[in-house]
């Protein structure tokens, strides 16, 4: 039997494992293969692959495709969607901008389109609003413990830049805020010899002026979608609550207000939860571990703890794990680990009780999306 005698489903299975470039050579070989290379499921698979850092589901991709199609009447198949993603997917995700060490933050880059139906890459800074006093309610169970609990805090985004995608070479980078104005960036297209098609990738290079300010540097981590964190060996594939997208949480930190955290956990090798700071404060800067928790065994349910906060309904099902939290003097001086209790309240909420500080902080888990405004 020869390869071209294989039933279509087998050839499709092979084609799904080829790069788009190889698919071109492959479909040039015969009429049969050409028809197969146009199959929607192959391009769906390519779309999924190019977005695999974001673990897209079929429903999710179809939603994007339909949204894009409705708006432009042009991108009607997954092949066309691939055309879009091939160019821009590498920029999507959460990036770590070049902010100062003690502040940090995240820039989310996602696809959107403007009112002329032109595609734009939008960069937004993700911030957690500072807690207003009235948003905090106190559970003073013990004279010594301050509990900061904030209800329903959501992250907020501020637009930092938008990159207009034009056919051709030039695109405009519009920075908002302090760097307002239009700057030119170049989408470089390598010279292609006529009969040699590989290497069609376009790359964005940014003029020096902008690079030195707050544009994300380098590609994000394949696992976390984040840039430059010292956590590259720490897999977060395992799931704690049934969700495996990039997980960030915001946590209240006493006088420092809300901060963004990255939660990563592994349940396979060492059962450990690690929470790394995305935004920092004057004591513990970004990129440092805020606290870890040993997930091997939980100490007790909250019903009989020394905190004696079982009166509160929301803590009723909480499970307490042993943790270690990082505290430091201003400027990350004399950093030490102090014991803390990590209380998993629900799938999306946790609390941390810091023994040395006699303070309680609250956290919420949220995951960011990249296409939400396309609908």
């Amino acid at each position: 039997m020869q390869i071209d005698d294989l039933p279509t489903e087998c050839v499709i299975a092979i084609a799904k494992r080829m790069s788009a470039m190889d698919l071109l050579s492959f479909s040039s070989t015969s009429k049969h293969f050409f028809e197969i290379a146009n199959d929607n499921s192959i391009w769906l698979s390519h779309c999924k692959n190019i977005l695999k850092n974001h673990s897209p589901s079929l429903a999710y991709l179809t939603r994007i495709k339909n949204a894009v199609f409705k708006k432009t009447h042009f991108y009607k198949s997954f092949k066309q969607l691939y055309r879009l993603l091939h160019k821009y997917a590498k920029f999507l995700g959460l990036w770590h901008p070049d902010y100062s060490f003690f502040i940090g933050g995240l820039i989310r880059i996602r696809l959107n389109y403007d009112n002329e139906n032109q595609f734009v890459l939008v960069g937004e800074r993700i911030i957690c609003p500072y807690a207003e006093m009235e948003d905090i309610y106190q559970l003073s169970l013990d004279e010594r413990i301050n509990i900061h609990i904030q209800k329903d805090t959501k992250y907020q985004t501020t637009k930092v830049f938008g990159v207009k995608m034009k056919e051709g070479i030039l695109a405009a980078l519009c920075l908002e805020g302090a760097h307002k104005g239009t700057h030119e960036i170049v989408i470089e297209q390598p010279m292609i010899p006529e009969n040699d098609l590989p290497g069609l990738l376009s790359t964005i290079s940014i003029t020096e002026r902008i690079k030195s300010q707050s544009f994300p540097l380098g590609p994000p981590n394949a696992v976390t979608g984040l840039w430059g964190f010292p956590i590259s060996n720490f897999g977060s594939d395992a799931t704690l609550s049934g969700s495996n997208s990039n997980l960030e949480s915001h946590t209240t930190y006493g006088s420092h207000g809300n901060e963004l955290m990255l939660l990563s956990y592994s349940l396979e090798t060492e059962k450990k939860l690690r929470v790394t700071k995305i935004t920092g404060d004057v004591n513990v800067p970004r990129g440092e571990i805020s606290f870890t928790a040993d997930l091997n065994n939980w100490k007790y349910t909250l019903g009989n703890t020394l905190h004696n906060i079982n009166n509160s309904a929301e803590f009723k099902n909480g499970i307490v794990f042993d943790g270690k939290g990082t505290v430091a003097m201003e400027g990350y001086q004399s950093a030490t680990k102090i014991p803390c209790d990590v209380i998993v309240v629900s799938d999306t909420q946790f609390s941390v009780y810091w023994y040395g500080l006699e303070e309680m902080g609250d956290g919420w888990i949220s995951s960011f999306t990249y296409f939400e405004d396309l609908q």
Binding site: M1, D5, P7, E9, I14, K16, L24, S28
Partner: protein, 159 residues
Amino acid sequence: MASVKLTTSDDKEYTLDRELIFQSNLIKNMVTDLDVFDAPIPLPNVTSSTLDIVIKYLKIHKDDPPPPDKPIEKAVDDMIDEDKELMKLEFNIMADVILAANYLDIPGLLDIGCRTVAWHIKQCKDYHEIREKFNIPKELWRSEEEIAEMKKELNGILG
């Protein structure tokens, strides 16, 4: 241990451990749904030489956990050495193995077979070489004009 009997297209009879052959979803469903134990299951699409290769694969992977549902990987480098060794086959035999894996519903074998073929296609420098390598008959070729047109289209997608 219970076993399952299979008959290949060239009338060879195989007796295999259930645990081993149950990696094939087809056989597993057949045996559990239809409750056939003693009667040999005919495999009209599979020759004995192909089944030998399939059995080699099943033996390598008999203790594997069920595969997770993840995006399709392209890299041949990620394959384990035993699989790479097993996939060193002539293309016509490879096609038989892929067909058998598809028919018997053994996702892992289908995956490594397809990955290997895709890898071989990647090694070819142009479509002439692919035609030669895979023995594609001339009457199925596309004309040079058609190819030029399609290149233009794909250029639009990748450019």
